[in-house]
Amino acid sequence: MKTEKNDIKIKVCMGPGGIATGGADVIKVFKDDLASANIKAKIGKGCSLHKVGCFGLCARDVLVDVIVGKNKTTYQYVKPDMVPRIVKEHLIENNPVSEWTVGDDYYSFYNKQIKVVLSEFSEVDPEDIDTYTAVGGYEATKKVLTKFTPEKTIAIIKKSGIRGRGGAGFPTGVKWEICRKVESDQKFIICNADEGDPGAFMDRAVIEGNPHSVIEGMIIGAYAIGATKGYVYVRAEYPLAVERLTIAIKQARGKNLLGENILGTKFNFDVRLKLGAGAFVCGEETALIASIEGQRGMPRAKPPFPVHSGLWGKPTVINNVETLANVPYIIRKGADWFSSFGTEKSKGTKVFALTGKVKNTGLIEVPMGILLREIIYDIGGGIEGGKAFKAVQTGGPSGGCIPAELVDINVDYESLAKVGSIVGSGGMVVLDDTDCMVSIAKFFLEFTQAESCGKCVPCRVGTKRLLEILDRITAGKGREGDIELLEDLGNDIKLSSLCGLGQTAPNPILSTIKYFRHEYEAHIKEQKCPAKVCKDLIEYGILEEFCKGCGACLRVCPSKAITGEKKKPHIISVDVCIKCGACFDVCKFKAVKKE
């Protein structure tokens, strides 16, 4: 049979999306089926099962690449029970199951993307260092340690123009240079993998997909600044990232890429993991340092900056996961290559977690300066369910909402800052016309208020007061002047808070007021929620003329607020209704109204 001679590879997406949709089960069935087919069809040896990091288009998971010789076929929405047919028809009979393969629209998701950090995701098995070295991994380390001085290394990073991907956008080469120049017997490099933005998973995907690229970035950074010890501070909510990093570090030690006299040079460096314990503020660098030291993660005033006095008082460079993952590529392919992507002031590419109400949710990597429109429509495929695009939230709790009318702006540090938002770490939550902007602002304030460490008054008390005002507005009890009060208080908190958490916490409110003031006004003046989200301002009822009396709503109602006979229009008792919306979603005849 033909397949015997061909090299067969099966790649199952085990990124965040693949895992959540049962990628592990798919792999298991593949293994079992191939094993049993092995006896009859003898295709065992040519087959290798790869566990591959994020493919990108999570909305289509589980995605499976079946590569026979040079022919690659991609299957989408694979479920374990589909595997036997793929094995039988495609691998044994050499007939791909065309009805399950991806169509042209799948490729349009990739067309506008440029992959640097994510470039080797489909080649590398994150648990096998050899697959990383096979595509040029650790070549940059070799180059730097044997050919470049630390100064030359820093010069290349500076020239590339890369800026920190953790949120603040500080030039990485400059940070390294400052730290290099500080005299000290001991320095540290820390990889910030706390990924606090609730609604983003870029760093998780990078670590789980290609952990060695992050470690390699750390080795190069350590060499450049003169550090001998490194830490990865990773959040405990990412158990798989922890596992893969642990494996990667061990393998790197085994190859003398970490440890003493790395690759026969005089350079010593080792990395340890530190697990976060669930505190957003620990993503802030001084709080992160306190947390690694085993204390409550409270930020402190800067200066002194960590590059002068960081972990245990020693000079420390803190870089984000994605920043570090870019470094090996910059060294390998050159600063000019890197800076050929992006805009004048924002170089390179940026990974975004595209989520919310777009059709193609997933992980994307685009050149800086791409139009927001291209992300939402060309890559994201537009809004799902035929609804209208309303806004996109970037930068998480520190960021803001960009309204639909600004869809033609460039996505880079400067342009987003100009419209009151930030690139942030790369969260991009798309909102449609069923999202209430006041409620979104309240959501973020609930988060920041709960996560405020309490050290400084403006943040501790201020976010609480902001939240109280939003609470009353969404309850229909807003007062005249509340909008102005939010603006005043918000600006004061921004100016007077100790750390970045408080300094940015009011942003979600200020940006929604800026672009959606009328929604705030509708809540306050008319006690109306235009998007029909705020529970206290809506009421559910049944449209008699549409109700068929099927009883679907009656069955799902958790509070037994719906009554009615079969085949006759039902009634919702407003006093008992808890406004959960279950009836609205379940009704096939659009007979439930929300006002």
Binding site: P16, G199, F201, A236, E237, A277, G294, K357, L363, G581
Partner: protein, 163 residues
């Protein structure tokens, strides 16, 4: 100091040894404690405080700061619902509310009276593209609906009845 049984003492000792060999700090120590016991028992804190000569207040300072630490026993089944931004806009709040109602978990509590279930919220588990996401006993599920969730919870209940 509160008395601990020899069996518990052995567990505590294991955690202590790891702490010493790994040059751990209070946070990693507490994480190991929680891994061993499922929560952080008062007795264990007392025991370590004596052994390491660190005041209990320092332990509690750290415990109360980080949301990962729990000072009360948790349910046998742990359901963690994400309420990060992506999940929020895809209706996670309703998911959580209906689950809590289904399991009769009263306000301010997160565990059922019979300690069968604990329902907790977390801010993002990094599965945002498959929102809303839920973790049931360490396994992640994406694109969750109230219906699916209730069914899964019922099979968990069934399992418990069998054994």
């Amino acid at each position: 100091m509160l008395e601990v049984s020899p069996e518990v003492e052995k567990k505590l000792d294991g955690v202590l040894q790891k702490h010493i060999t790994d040059e751990g700090n209070i946070i990693s120590l507490l994480q190991d404690m929680q891994e061993a016991f499922g929560y952080i028992p008062e007795k264990a804190v007392g025991w370590f405080s004596k052994k390491l000569d660190i005041p209990e207040s320092r332990f509690y300072g750290v415990i109360t700061f980080y949301s990962q630490f729990h000072t009360h026993p948790r349910g046998r089944n742990l359901i963690t619902a994400c309420c990060g931004t992506a999940c929020h806009v895809k209706g996670s709040e309703r998911l959580i509310n209906s689950l809590r109602r289904e399991l009769n978990i009263v306000e301010e509590e997160d565990t059922t009276d019979d300690r069968k279930f604990t329902v907790e919220k977390v801010a993002c588990i990094g599965t945002c593209s498959m929102a809303p996401a839920v973790i049931i006993n360490k396994k992640i599920y994406g694109n969750m609906t109230a219906d699916k969730l209730m069914k899964m919870v019922k099979t968990l209940e069934g399992k418990k009845n069998e054994d």
